[in-house]
Symmetry: C2
Subunit: 294 residues, 2 copies
Amino acid sequence: MADFKTYLSERAQFIDVLLDQWLPAAETRPASLHQAMRHSVLAGGKRLRPVLCMAAAEACGGTKEAASFAACAVECLHTYTLIHDDLPCMDDDDLRRGRPTCHKVYGEAVALLAGDALQALSFELLAKTQQGVHHSHGDMVTELARASGSLHLVGGQVADVEGEGKELALEDLRYIHESKTAALLTASVVLGGMAADATKEQLQGLREFGAATGLAFQIIDDILDVTQPSEKLGKSAGKDVASQKSTYPALMGIEASRAEAQRLTAQAHAALEVFGPYGKRLRDLVDYLLARDY
Amino acid sequence: MADFKTYLSERAQFIDVLLDQWLPAAETRPASLHQAMRHSVLAGGKRLRPVLCMAAAEACGGTKEAASFAACAVECLHTYTLIHDDLPCMDDDDLRRGRPTCHKVYGEAVALLAGDALQALSFELLAKTQQGVHHSHGDMVTELARASGSLHLVGGQVADVEGEGKELALEDLRYIHESKTAALLTASVVLGGMAADATKEQLQGLREFGAATGLAFQIIDDILDVTQPSEKLGKSAGKDVASQKSTYPALMGIEASRAEAQRLTAQAHAALEVFGPYGKRLRDLVDYLLARDY
């Protein structure tokens, strides 16, 4: 695991350098907008989606460089959703990745617009990916747009907001987690695969891996929200309880939630069989996610 | 002009039918989100950007059908910016296209997310355009993402918000109008051209036409805001004055503003010379925009 943590932090650093380079400079007009975008994107974070994206490319026999635009695209997209999520009309959160949220520093209007601009940038970066034989830019854009659109990511956010204060059925909570979290994690690995010119079979493996890993990840997030303090999470802890959100631990208890995350992790492992030894990093990643405590 | 108004309304209807068809149905889960998206997109409106997009395709020898996905993409993108613009943290507007604004009906959170989802849908639709020989999906996505990103559309919105209550220099106001309005109008005609497999020369003509037309359009909007009542505009009139925004009439007077719009219109005509008789609809369009009173 020590070795794997080194790998993770090296990959996160690789992405940090590229994001810094590919985001417009802080003084670019209008400066407040570009500062706001950089404030949120360059706040550190685990860079889980980019790391997954690059590891998926490598599992398909490609390089991390081949997937670098796609990796930064999914991180920009993820960051836009965090900025909008934190706005007063949504979760109204002050702390994110251990720093004041975007609207706390730049005001609501600029934060809203920084999120909007990051979504556009995400598609712009994605379209810089070198195309292979099997997947066009059109395929990649379709993948990201669907995963992040009204039927998946944004749809999940709406269902999440509307579910506050209600006790949801497990099935509805699963829909929210699958839409809000698993869809973009899946797109991250699928885009990494596309950037590495994956075969149909490989892409199918990545899709199954992403779906299982994404749901496991969100269940563990639910567990950590009730078991860990804010300092460790780098965001406000206990906010699911505070905003009366249904969570896996609330609906099925902590132990059963852990067992469900374990079952999904095994499912993710099974989906990686098609990659043989090349799937090692993705296997390590899902194990790491299961075991994490922040 | 009567003949041209018929053309315009036929084209708007053509687009209305497609938007209705390509937006997820109102009952699609989550229903509130899809209703909010449909509320704002299907509120009528002149469909100026889609009409420009299709007319540009025809100027390049293509069909309106070839440009139909791109046309709906720019309308979805435009609509997302309207929804976000109307939010309380931005212009805080109650009326849009003669109807209550999205957040007035569906609440702020759902309106915010409906805008986000429309941006994603916009790229998804664009990627359905049939590619020609000269322009790939990558080129199209890059065009739309840049025009709508932090260096253009969103950048212009930020400069606009930050300019409230200040007397701007004409140069700064021009920057705002070029970014906020002209960039997406330009992308609309350029994407129409790309969908019709335009030559380099044609695309350059469309770019110059879009820039001049877009700026003229916004200057006329500024004029109408002070000279026309809300009922005619279908949105709150006098809001530029109310929010202490700099406008062309405020900076250079109504007559000089009209003259500037006329000069830009002549420039737009000149840019169309490369299209010969095929440029007729675009010529009519810019004349119509100059003469409009709503």
